[in-house]
């Protein structure tokens, strides 16, 4: 029983009038892990997660959540074991924080006390405030409180930290870490690469309704064959030869996009001097040069040729 995955789906398809939101998607989330869905806007992450939550019916495919299937007469019992945060919910503005948590607590047959949950998300000081008067970050934490109140075995989070300041994000990460320490499983979506790299044991990169890569963040990054990325641009739009750049010592791959070059480099200390020598031999002047450690964003760019944000 405990060896069965927390979530399993096969061949998931969901079409809307003229778009295929999910196009044959397979996933398996193990018990106790934090699994991330990454992808550009409109990739189908929310649609997928809502199908798994039993809120949206799929056109095709199989879903198994905590060993159960939706629509077999045990939905309510299953919901009692899930914690769900939707991408866009506005809770009732006219209720206070405490009243909202109390309402959601009343639906669950087990779980924490209201005080415990409020302490957990650090909203005790705001317990009497109306939901409509909370800041964006406080609302996110309240949404999380409502998801956590029934002590779920599995937590679905759709962009839990979008719109939060860096400090609130870190607080939320700590909260999720302590939830996992208690044996919980998380399936989340995010647009923040650092978040996925910090929180997730494994991530699936989703594009156009399909999983195009799936592994641990570390393995995905090292699949680039490069630890670092060097980005530069040359003045006056001088043209450079892609093959020549890729052949420089310490450079794995070269790519030109919107007048900016990026080089995947396993060894920056070799690549940068070689690049500078190459440019001066070509008579081209640098207008811009940066290097950064490779991220999941670079993995996405390498896989699709597009950026996560504007794909």
């Amino acid at each position: 029983m405990t060896d069965r995955p927390a979530v399993r789906c096969r061949g998931l398809v969901k079409r809307y009038a003229d778009v295929v939101a999910v196009a044959g998607l397979d996933l398996e989330v193990r018990r106790g892990e934090c699994f991330g869905l990454l992808g550009p806007n409109g990739a189908g992450k929310t649609t997928t997660i809502e199908i798994l939550e039993g809120l949206t019916p799929a056109d095709a495919g199989e879903v198994e959540v905590l060993g159960e299937r939706w629509g077999r007469g045990r939905d309510r019992a299953l919901r009692g074991r899930l914690g769900i945060q939707l991408q866009e919910t506005q809770l009732n503005d006219k209720l206070s924080v405490e009243e909202t948590v109390r309402l959601f607590r009343s639906f669950a047959d087990r779980g924490r006390t209201i005080d415990e949950v409020l302490a957990l998300v650090e909203l005790d000081a705001k317990r009497r405030s109306w939901v409509g008067k909370l800041s964006g970050g406080q609302k996110q934490r309240l949404a999380l409180a409502c998801a956590l109140v029934g002590q779920p075995d599995l937590l679905f989070l759709d962009e839990p930290t979008t719109g939060l300041d860096p400090q609130s994000r870190r607080q939320l990460w700590d909260l999720l870490a302590s939830y996992r320490a208690g044996g919980g499983t998380i399936l989340m979506t995010t647009h923040y690469m650092d978040e996925a790299e910090t929180l997730c044991d494994r991530v699936a990169i989703v594009d156009r309704g399909k999983v195009i890569a799936l592994d641990t963040p570390r393995a995905l990054i090292s699949s680039l064959g490069a630890e670092h990325v060097v980005e530069f641009a040359v003045a006056d739009g001088a043209t450079l030869d892609q093959a020549a750049l890729a052949a420089l010592p310490g450079v794995g791959e070269a790519r030109l996009e919107d007048g900016a070059w990026s080089l995947a480099t396993p060894e920056v200390h070799l690549a940068v001097p070689a690049l500078l020598a190459h440019l001066s031999a070509q008579g081209a002047a640098l207008s811009h040069l940066t290097t950064h450690s490779a991220t999941l964003e670079d993995v996405f760019v390498a896989l699709t040729g597009r950026h996560l944000r504007d794909a």
Partner: protein, 348 residues
């Protein structure tokens, strides 16, 4: 005993949430409590002094006018206004005068025969002028005025206003709050939790009923204190009738709101449902004014049943058995709407 970590049972918490949402919305309070009282007040004042309203007669200013004016003005309750010949139509249209006398032999009466006041004024004027011209009455009848309480317009109107108020607060109140919650995806969030769907709909209905007592009590008390509207039947039966009516319109409210995705859509639907009942169900004038072929339809409407039952109990002092049919009809509307709403309700 279930572990709810300090929360009440879900039905109680959902009902409390509904009530809080309601009382924290001051506009809603106005429409539910103040508006019907203002309405009763305005209508009550407009129709109160009906019996002693003066008869206003226009007299065309030409030869013979002073004599006619003198004859008419001798009589208490008749007021005369001198008009130019070109002002006749306008004065009648604006109801500034009820009849216009054009002096002459014989005189000409201008009136709007479709208006009862106009016809009445014509007879009064005619009697006065005929008598002055020498007609002799065959006899002088004696008048025995009766105690009119219970049969005045305001007495008849108040139960209708009560019924209408129960209808509009039920329909608007539930319709708006549900569609609002749907557009904000709050309903979707709720069904993502282990909440029972039935509990949510029931809580909306119960939330309505809690304020019903205050709403009904305020209007009844106002009618009694301000206009002396009688309550001849049992007050428990009046409240019970209101309760069954509120269940009927609460159920209808859930049904109307069960699919609509926008406030505009639900407003249109609500008007579509309420308008026929405003007109047909005997709020401001009796439903018996409509032709017989329409009556089966009119009698099946929940507001007709509610108004009829309220009038029977309040004005005629009828008991439970006399209004059992109406109450049954209302309960049927409520249960059927609730059952259909639960099946077709759109949660996302």
């Amino acid at each position: 005993m279930r572990d709810r970590g300090g929360a009440h049972p879900p039905l109680v918490e959902l009902t409390l949430a509904r009530l809080r949402e309601f009382v924290r919305e001051p506009e809603a309070l106005f429409w539910v409590f103040v508006f019907p009282i203002l309405m009763a007040c305005a209508l009550g004042v407009a129709f109160r002094a009906r019996g002693d309203e003066p008869v206003v007669v226009g007299v065309i200013g030409r030869s013979g006018a002073p004599l006619v004016t003198a004859i008419l003005q001798r009589t208490p309750g008749v007021t005369v206004r001198t008009l130019g010949a070109d002002e006749i139509a306008r004065a009648l249209q604006r109801a500034e005068v009820q009849v216009v006398v054009e002096p002459g032999t014989p005189p000409v009466y201008h009136l709007d025969p479709t208006r009862a006041e106009s016809r009445l004024a014509r007879r009064i004027v005619d009697d006065l002028l005929q008598r002055a011209a020498g007609r002799v009455d065959a006899f002088a009848a004696r008048e025995a005025p009766t105690e009119a309480i219970g049969s005045r317009y305001i007495d008849w109107l108040l139960p209708g206003l009560l019924g209408m108020n129960i209808m509009s607060t039920g329909l608007w109140g539930l319709g708006f709050s549900i569609v609002h919650a749907r557009t904000r995806k709050l309903l979707k969030r709720l069904i993502a939790s282990p909440m029972r769907r039935r509990d949510y709909l029931l809580a909306q209905l119960f939330g309505r009923l809690v304020f019903l007592g205050i709403e009904v009590g305020a209007l009844l008390l106002f009618g009694h204190v301000a206009f002396g509207v009688p309550l001849r039947g049992s007050i428990a039966l009046v409240l019970g009738t209101c309760l069954v009516g509120a269940v009927a319109f609460g159920g209808l409210g859930l049904l109307v709101a069960s699919r609509a995705r926008t406030i505009e859509a639900v407003s249109g639907l609500l008007n579509l449902v309420m308008l026929p009942m405003w007109v047909l169900s005997g709020v401001f004038f009796s439903a018996s004014n409509f032709p017989a072929p329409m009556q089966p339809f009119i009698q099946a409407l929940p507001l007709t049943a509610l108004n009829d039952a309220l009038r029977a109990v309040m004005l005629e002092g009828d008991g439970l058995s006399a209004v059992a049919h109406e109450l049954g009809l209302l309960a049927g509307w409520g249960l059927a709407s609730f059952a259909v709403a639960l099946r077709i309700f759109r949660w996302r």
